[in-house]
């Protein structure tokens, strides 16, 4: 057994003699594991020859847009005044009638309309991002489900839909 003179720790006999070999074995093992991945290392895209050498954004070669000459509308002033007058009267008339109607509130929206809006609108939010905004403490399962789920039903769902149960308990260090 190897001994360190300065302290009382011991190492197995020959530990340092074959450390290098064991390290090389491990490196080879890891390399071969990496090679086993079915995902190819490159994705096969190519570019035309000298594309990057000749790339210059058009913004450099394009001149700044020149100022457009402004045409004075003085001669039409009287016509514009009369149109503006008519428009003001119409606006006042419709404006008064408009105010008579009840103001719409959020409560006036039917649930079906809200659901249709959320279905049709792409928010570009992943479930992780939604989870970051809405804290788990604030929601109950009953907020999104009509019926209460029993533990058995939840387990049955997970069994059928989760490929690898480890997905639910990720150890991030494994994927660095």
């Amino acid at each position: 057994m190897g001994k360190d003179k300065k302290n009382k720790f011991k190492t197995p006999e020959g530990y340092f003699d074959n450390l290098h070999d064991r390290l090389m074995d491990r490196i080879q093992q890891e390399d071969s594991q990496e090679e086993k991945s079915v995902i190819p290392k490159s994705d096969g895209f190519a570019v035309p020859e000298t594309y990057f050498e000749n790339f210059t954004p058009k913004v450099i070669s394009q001149p700044e847009p020149q100022e457009v000459k402004v045409v004075q509308l003085k001669s039409y002033k009287k016509i514009y005044y009369s149109i503006a007058g008519v428009a003001a009267v119409l606006l006042l008339f419709f404006g008064l009638n408009w105010n008579k109607a009840d103001t719409l509130t959020f409560d006036d929206l039917a649930n079906s309309e809200l659901e249709a809006y959320f279905d049709a609108t792409d928010f570009n939010l992943s479930s992780y991002e939604i989870a970051e905004v809405v804290s788990l403490e604030q929601i109950e399962l009953s907020d999104i489900l009509d019926q209460n789920l029993g533990e058995e039903q939840i387990l049955e769902y997970l069994d059928e839909n989760v490929e690898d149960i480890e997905d639910l308990n990720l150890d991030y260090n494994d994927y660095d």
Binding site: V38, P40, Y51, F55, T56, P57, E129, L170, Y172
Partner: protein, 180 residues
């Protein structure tokens, strides 16, 4: 390489703007091109989006406040430009985003600038099945070899969520590639 703060300052001054912009373009053109190419797949479309990205950077540099790093700001613009480009393309063609993605991969087979073999084509088909975010995280990590911290700044998503997305993407791609 020129320091980022100096470059930004030069980009904001009329006299030094043109030269600084040239430096910016030469520094980022290849990295941004490959980032965009992996989203829009086709070379001509990538060129259009890359041009638009640099034009946006040029026109909006005064609005860059330095809250994030310059490269992550530019990457963010490139990502948004590329995704918007695809949305417009599917809208113009009157097809759904998914249909467009499938068509894009099918077009790769006749693309002169795609030199991939059968496996690489299958990889693109697998990537087309992923949600945008997972696909982005996967390509940025696997092919562009970006660090999680850098991806986090570009996509404005926590490192934890990115790691989960990457892990899920790898699993889905491997399953797709192993299937017949």
């Amino acid at each position: 390489m020129i320091a980022e703060e100096t470059l930004v300052a030069e980009l904001k001054h009329k006299e030094s703007q043109a030269r600084a912009f040239e430096v910016l373009v030469n520094t980022y053109k290849e990295r941004l091109y490959w980032h965009i190419r992996r989203i829009v797949l086709n070379h001509d479309d990538s060129d259009d989006v890359l041009q638009n990205t640099f034009i946006k950077v040029y026109r909006n540099i005064d609005g860059f406040k330095g809250d994030s790093k310059l490269y992550s700001w530019i990457y963010r613009i490139a990502t948004n430009e590329a995704l918007t480009f695809l949305k417009q393309k599917s809208r113009k063609a009157g097809i759904s985003d998914e249909e467009l993605k499938t068509a894009m991969v099918e077009n790769l087979q006749s693309d002169v600038y795609f030199e991939g073999d059968e496996i690489q084509l299958k990889l693109q088909k697998a990537l087309a099945t992923l949600p945008d975010k997972q696909k982005l995280v996967f390509t940025m990590k696997y092919f562009q070899e970006m660090k999680y911290d850098e991806i986090s700044e570009v996509l404005e998503t926590s490192v934890g969520a990115l790691k989960t997305s990457y892990h899920l993407a790898v699993k889905k791609i491997e399953t797709y590639l192993k299937a017949d």
